[in-house]
């Protein structure tokens, strides 16, 4: 396995450590990924209508954390560059603020595209801190009907994370923004029934 991986990296490099994949292979462009995203709920997202103006990226609130701008993400979806999109952290850095979508002059909905791509990625079994966080978040909400933040911190990052966030937690608790004890909702059964219903397609 390791030798194979080494070979692969070796093949990618030319002499002097130059990378050979600097040039794009236009012949790999295809519609498959685009069709998948459209099927996943990107139907109204008007992906093909994108004219690459960059309004989305210009207004993006988390662009400084992303390794791929929303404009490029749409372009990569159009061209079927599934791996590049999947590797990108833009999917997980998106805070779904919808500024891109509300400002797009062509009616493209980058937020919806990101949602659809994430759904495909999760179904394909992608695992990273973001997906783990989301999973824990959902499990805890299902358990109590309401989030208990220290519990989330513990499950996500263990004791070190709790200690790291302790100062903030105490401040929040003192200001009444967060309860130090787990809260309960009035009617958990009704809430769970609603959740079950929401899960159905």
């Amino acid at each position: 396995m390791t030798t194979k991986a080494k070979k692969a990296t070796k093949a990618k490099k030319f002499v002097f450590g130059l990378k050979t994949d600097r040039q794009l292979d236009g012949d790999k462009m295809n519609r498959e990924f685009l069709d998948k995203v459209i099927a996943e709920g990107g139907k109204g997202a008007a992906i093909a209508a994108c004219m690459q103006c960059g309004t989305c990226s210009g207004g993006c609130t988390n662009i400084d954390l992303m390794d791929m701008s929303p404009r490029t993400l749409i372009l990569m979806v159009q061209r079927g560059e599934w791996e590049k999109v999947l590797k990108s952290n833009a999917l997980w850095m998106c805070s779904s603020c919808y500024i891109c979508t509300s400002r797009c002059p062509r009616g493209v909905r980058p937020s919806d595209v990101i949602e659809a791509v994430k759904a495909i990625a999760i179904r394909q079994g992608i695992e990273n801190d973001s997906t783990r966080f989301n999973q824990i978040f959902v499990e805890l909400v299902q358990k109590r009907g309401i989030l208990f933040e220290p519990e989330l911190m513990h499950k996500y990052g263990g004791l070190p994370a709790m200690i790291e966030q302790a100062e903030l937690g105490i401040k929040l608790a003192l200001k009444g923004k967060m309860s130090p004890f787990p809260e309960k909702i009035k009617d958990p059964q009704k809430f769970n029934a609603a959740l079950e219903k929401a899960k159905q397609p």
């Binding site: 794009l24 209508a49 372009l75």
Partner: protein, 356 residues
């Protein structure tokens, strides 16, 4: 009073002008180099943005010609005298009296062989937009081997915005035309992928932007931002394109089965000497003023219309021809008693410099 007007060139601008001038009551003589009037319209299949048949436009313009006298297969060899007493000598030997002359001699297509790196005239599957339109007219778009192309590349700005071929200007219509033909090819061959290689998409007219959007959304035409640098032929006759995908700032290789060069327009300066016309730095005829005298030439009594004064779409040429007809009517009626009034109170200024 001499009420005869000579129109040189029977394309959309000339036809539209002749029609209006005879409506105004002038005797119009239309001199056309070819055996048929219609100009480039005779070559086109359909016209953007609404896919009107080119033949429908020609038929409409011809129907408005009325008593216009048409001289086919004729060119102008000499123009003597001055307004309102011109004497126009035609290649047939005939001499025609004219109170005013309209030059609507249109344009020529850029000769794509000058862009050697694109391989026009060298590679079998490299064609220009005129040839593609002929294929569309015949409803058969095929590679030289007679196969249906799976991938087609459309190259914008061939012979336009290019100092290397001495054409710095934008030919204006090629972007929209590329989008139009892309849609037509998609309709003919639905599973064909089309890549438009552009620098800017300049779709300026009414309905053009909508056509651009339709091509993307409903027909899946793909746009790659980057000018073609070179094309090379592969063993199977397909062409390998080398360009930069400037949207990702990376060089790209792309194979296409058919390469279509959207050739631009070049000025038709054949009459410059005969009619005493000056050329702008773009080698189209110079008008008296770019803003308010754009149908006047620098010479009194000689008018200009259509693509003779710069690249124009069909609809613009028709409008420009009619605008010239109004200018001529006003000029002949006032009998240049007050020439300045025809130039809106301004004397003719040298505009060749102002185009820079």
């Amino acid at each position: 009073m001499n009420k005869q007007v000579v129109v040189i060139g029977g394309g959309p601008a000339g036809l539209a002008a002749a029609g209006k001038l005879q409506d105004f009551g002038y005797d119009v003589v239309l001199i056309e180099k070819q055996a048929e009037v219609g100009g480039h319209l005779n070559k086109w299949y359909k016209v953007f943005p609404d896919f009107t048949d080119a033949s429908e436009i020609t038929a409409n313009l011809k129907a408005g010609l009325g008593q216009t006298r048409i001289l086919n297969n004729a060119t102008v060899t000499r123009i003597e005298g001055s307004a309102p007493n011109f004497k126009v000598t035609v290649s047939t030997g005939e001499e025609i009296e004219a109170a005013a002359i309209l030059v609507s001699t249109g344009y020529k297509h850029f000769d794509a062989t000058l862009k050697e790196e694109y391989g026009y005239g060298i590679y079998d599957n490299c064609i220009n937009s005129v040839e593609l339109d002929a294929m569309l007219k015949a409803k058969s778009v095929k590679t030289r081997d007679g196969k249906l192309p799976k991938k087609v590349g459309m190259i914008h700005c061939v012979g336009s915005r290019d100092e290397k071929v001495n054409n710095n200007y934008c030919s204006r219509v090629c972007c929209t035309n590329a989008i139009k033909v892309a849609i037509e090819v998609k309709e003919l061959i639905p599973d064909c992928e089309i890549y438009c290689l552009y620098m800017d998409i300049r779709v300026f007219g009414r309905g053009y932007e909508e056509l651009y959007r339709t091509s993307q959304q409903d027909f899946g035409v793909q746009f790659l931002r980057g000018r073609l640098s070179e094309a090379g032929e592969k063993n199977d006759g397909s062409l390998l394109l080398r360009l930069e995908d400037t949207l990702t700032a990376k060089p790209m290789r792309l194979t296409v089965d058919l390469l279509v060069l959207m050739v631009g327009m070049e000025g038709n300066s054949e009459l410059a000497e005969v009619a005493g016309l000056t050329l702008g730095c773009d080698r189209f005829y110079a008008t008296a003023h770019l803003q308010y005298s754009n149908n006047h030439s620098a010479r009194s009594g000689i008018f200009l219309a259509g693509a003779a004064t710069g690249p124009k779409a069909i609809m613009e040429s028709i409008t420009d021809g009619r605008s010239a007809a109004a200018e001529i009517a006003s000029f002949v009626a006032s009998n240049q008693a007050n020439l300045a009034s025809n130039l809106n109170g301004q004397s003719v200024t040298k505009m060749t410099a102002s185009l820079k």
